[in-house]
């Protein structure tokens, strides 16, 4: 029995790890995704239950109390959160995972210190654990605050931010070296504090439109934090599961960067859209008063109702106005008139990877009607009307045509190729990147001003009267 139990626990961890792999693999395909999520959660239940059998775990009432409390909070939060709040929910959960990992690293360091001596490898891994976990925690909370609207979504940075960051990091390294020479709890608290500040300064300068990159990066970091905690307590289960999450988050981060044609360092350190790039500079340079065509609901409805094919291009504006249900209603009305309706989804539309897909799924739009950028771009020249709802930079033809544009090279949805384009937008103001959009001034483009939800609802009632 003495040796049986630890082996049984380790073997159960292997089973749980296998279930995590299987679950993530299944999450990659729409048909199996739901069962994949369930397999992964079964793996988690196994891991938690067998850990209760660990000989070192005897403080049952308090541990079970903490498990119940956390589960209850998670349960209520998951039930109550609205689909439109999903980006900040994911941000928050990333942060909690990072915090838990950092706390594990910190407490284990304290435990070893209490026992008398901290081996060098344990000190190094504990430092890494508190660094990654701390950055994930504070960074995620800034992301949450930005997405929830608690603080401005605009890039924010102190004067000399880069120098401050370098100094902070130097201070962190110095503290770490001191810890390696003589482990002390006070020094460890200081470097943990620096990690938290670094997390703040990493995410504060990043604008709302770059959130998909940040959220996926923090997702990856939350996994790496768990891995680091695993190194501290020398637990393979944590190391493997954390590495798995780290890898998946990194893949998403890369996809998001590709969707903007920017490197990760550029996203993190350039404070894009902060006005420093000269907002609307290219437009002002023309010196020409540009005119655009405006339509009302009635004309818009006629264009849509008598079209053969319509492609809807949703953007963050649809999410803000919560217009997804009205959009679905419009598509239904058009479908009953025999119009073929498709949705074109840009990889970085919205504030997190797959944001538009989640909102449209909530409105019961079947995912077979949603098309990725590469699949739909070839179809725009056969499309009668492209209906752009609250999207801006992802349809800006400058990204293809104007080598001086800050977004030059970013892959876009080529709505300018459609026979007609209707753009629903609140005003002519530029998007988050502060760049004027040539699409709005084209002959084939009609601007329809208004809040996305009301504008689409008006279109629905006009289409009904056709």
């Amino acid at each position: 029995m003495e040796t049986f139990l630890p082996s049984a626990i380790q073997l159960s961890y292997i089973v749980a790890t296998g279930l995590f792999f299987l679950g993530l693999k299944k999450l990659g395909s729409p048909a199996t995704a739901r069962s994949g999520n369930i397999w992964a959660s079964v793996g988690m239940v196994i891991a938690v239950v067998v850990t209760l059998l660990d000989r070192g775990v005897v403080n049952y009432p308090m541990i079970l109390g903490a498990i119940s409390l956390g589960s209850a909070i998670g349960f209520v939060a998951a039930k109550k959160v609205a689909m439109t709040e999903m980006p900040q929910m994911v941000g928050l959960l990333n942060g909690l995972g990072g915090a838990a990992s950092a706390l594990v690293a910190i407490s284990e360091f304290y435990r070893l210190l209490l026992e008398g001596s901290v081996p060098i490898p344990a000190t190094i891994t504990a430092i890494l654990g508190s660094l990654i976990g701390g950055i994930t925690f504070s960074g995620s909370f800034v992301a949450f605050a930005k997405l929830q609207g608690l603080i401005s979504g605009k890039p924010m940075s102190l004067p000399g931010q880069k120098i401050i960051n370098v100094l902070l990091f130097a201070l962190f390294i110095a503290g770490s070296v001191m810890l390696l020479i003589s482990p002390a709890s006070s020094t460890f608290l200081v470097i943990t504090g620096i990690s938290l500040i670094l997390g703040l300064f990493l995410v504060l300068p990043i604008g709302g439109g770059d959130m998909p990159v940040v959220i996926s990066l923090l997702n990856s970091l939350s996994g790496l934090a768990a891995s680091a905690a695993g190194f501290v307590v020398m637990n393979n289960m944590l190391i493997v599961a954390g590495a798995l999450v780290g890898a998946s988050g990194l893949i998403l981060t890369e996809i998001m960067c590709k969707g903007m044609n920017r490197t990760l360092t550029n996203v993190l350190f350039s404070a894009f859209g902060g006005g420093a790039t000269g907002s609307g500079g290219s437009a002002a340079g023309d010196g020409v008063e540009k005119s655009y065509r405006q339509v009302d609901a009635e004309t818009g409805a006629m264009m849509l109702g008598y079209a053969r094919s319509v492609v809807v291009v949703p953007g963050y504006g649809m999410a803000v106005a919560q217009a997804q249900h009205s959009v679905r209603e419009l598509a239904d009305q058009l479908a009953t008139r025999g119009v073929e309706v498709k949705y074109a989804i840009h990889p970085v539309a919205g504030r997190m990877p797959g944001h538009m897909n989640v909102l449209l799924a909530e409105a019961n739009v079947p995912y077979s009607q949603l098309y990725d950028m590469d699949d739909i771009n070839g179809e725009f020249d056969r499309t009668d009307v492209a209906l752009v709802i609250g999207a801006n930079d992802v349809v800006n033809p400058d990204a293809k045509e104007d080598a001086d544009s800050p977004i030059y090279g970013m892959p876009i949805l080529e709505v300018d190729k459609a026979k007609n384009t209707i753009v629903i937008k609140r005003s002519m103001k530029p998007g988050y990147a502060g760049i004027d959009n040539q699409l709005f001034y084209r002959d084939k483009t009609a601007m329809y001003f208004g809040n996305a939800k009301e504008a689409v609802a008006d279109l629905v009632s006009e289409v009904k009267q056709l």
Binding site: V57, I67, A225, L244
Partner: protein, 95 residues
């Protein structure tokens, strides 16, 4: 460096490569659920926290145990919230 640390590094590197192989080519439709599902898995830190909070409270260790208990609570919010929210999203995805 200790052998266990080297062995653990092996595990980490191999698991990362395996992770990259398992999660290539996810359709954009599933990007959010993949992220929140993976996030729930990162709540595995809970078992590390359970070991840390394992011993009974004594005068010496109360700081450590309390930190461990907080970590358990946070990680469980992450686990339960993450898996449930993922399931809610996946329930909506229809053909």
């Amino acid at each position: 460096m200790s052998e266990t640390l080297i062995a653990a590094l092996f595990v980490f590197v191999l698991a990362s490569f395996a992770g990259f192989e398992v999660i290539t080519k996810v359709p954009p439709t599933l990007h959010t659920p993949l992220m929140s599902g993976a996030n729930a898995i990162s709540g595995i830190a809970v078992i590390g926290a359970m070991v840390v909070a394992g011993p009974n409270l004594t005068h010496d260790n109360n700081f450590i145990v309390i930190m461990g208990l907080i970590a358990i609570t946070l990680a469980m919010v992450n686990v339960v919230g993450g898996f449930m929210v993922t399931d809610r999203m996946l329930q909506m995805f229809k053909k």
